[in-house]
Amino acid sequence: MSSAAYATIIYSVGAPVVAVAEPTTDLGALQFQVTDAARRLFHPGTQVSAFLAVDGGEVGIASIDYFNGIVTLTEAPAEAIELDFAYVTKAAIGGSREYSYELGGDVLDSTSFALAQANGGFRTRAYGLHDVSVSISRNDDLSQKFVDHKMAREMVYIEVTPGGSGATLKGWFLLETDSHTGDLGALEGEDLTFNLANVDAIQQGGISTIFSFS
């Protein structure tokens, strides 16, 4: 069955909050998750560190799931684990009425004499760089929140669940354009376009730090 768009959920976040010595829950397989569910969305621009709860010694981290507050350690710890990190809290983007996203990027022409001769004279291709963009149109509440993010050169977290259930696109983006519109007889509107943030800004981890769609 198709999905009516009105059920789509779109989130953004507020400013990062520092958490120190945050308790975790052992998930097994060297994975430890922040126990407080409200603190599981890590801010990717902040270092995440793991420590033994009693001894206080630092523990090596192999990988971090920034969206679910999970660290995978390099070796099994002798004690409970506590984390230092910064987290953000989600809130619905008020006034949102339309959105779009695109998983795009480059598809490169790889045609060669050998390949074309082998396939009867057809072009062949290979994936190049991927890219992700999101656009949101909203009824403007004049809070200037997104303008503030852009002026401060901050990453913005966007989470979209099409139709309200199923797959969720989530990631950290840069606000490319913030357009304000409003005809004489209409509501004041704000059109936002986002592009995937700079991976170099991430302290640890790769692309999974700033983008997920599952």
């Binding site: 069955m1 999905s3 009516a4 768009a5 339309e98 074309a116 396939n119 062949t124 769609f213």
Partner: protein
């Protein structure tokens, strides 16, 4: 006699053609193009340009209704949700797909076409009063072949 489009099927396979899933497309298209090279010269022209075929190329687009995947294991193949998931994952994982364009809905009457594709773009959109939709553009990665009729 003309062919009503509602019978058409656009099918996707992620396992090299072993299993096929229907895309929930609303306005699919297939373009078979490529290069047609101008070989006109002063020695042989009869007052007209002449040409020869260069490389062939083709592409497909499938604007679709969005179908959420529900259940474990996947239970939404008939709705088109599985095909959408395959396209999205092919893009994210940099893998290829096989595409079948079946104008009559049949893969046995000799009218269908099949080839390997890469997902150039996979996008979604929704307006508060409308349906969730997905736009998929596919680029060829090699030959487009007719699917033989089954006697």
């Amino acid at each position: 006699m003309s062919q009503a489009a509602y019978n058409k099927k656009i099918r996707i396979s992620a396992d090299d053609g072993a299993t096929w899933y229907d895309l929930p497309a609303t306005s699919p298209s297939l373009e078979i193009g490529g290069d047609v090279l101008d070989d006109t010269d002063l020695a042989t022209n009869a007052g007209y340009r002449s040409r020869c075929y260069g490389l062939h190329d083709w592409s497909a687009n499938a604007d679709s209704n969005y179908k959420p995947v529900t259940g474990t294991p996947l239970v939404d193949a008939a709705s088109g949700a599985t095909a959408l998931l395959l396209c999205r994952n092919a893009k994210l994982n940099r893998t290829g797909l096989k595409l079948r364009y079946l104008p009559t809905g049949s893969d046995e009457d000799g009218t269908g076409l099949e080839g390997d594709v890469l997902v150039e773009s996979f996008g979604g959109s929704g307006e508060v009063g409308g349906l969730e939709t997905v736009s998929i553009s596919l680029q060829a990665n090699g030959l487009l072949a007719a699917i033989p009729a089954v006697p």
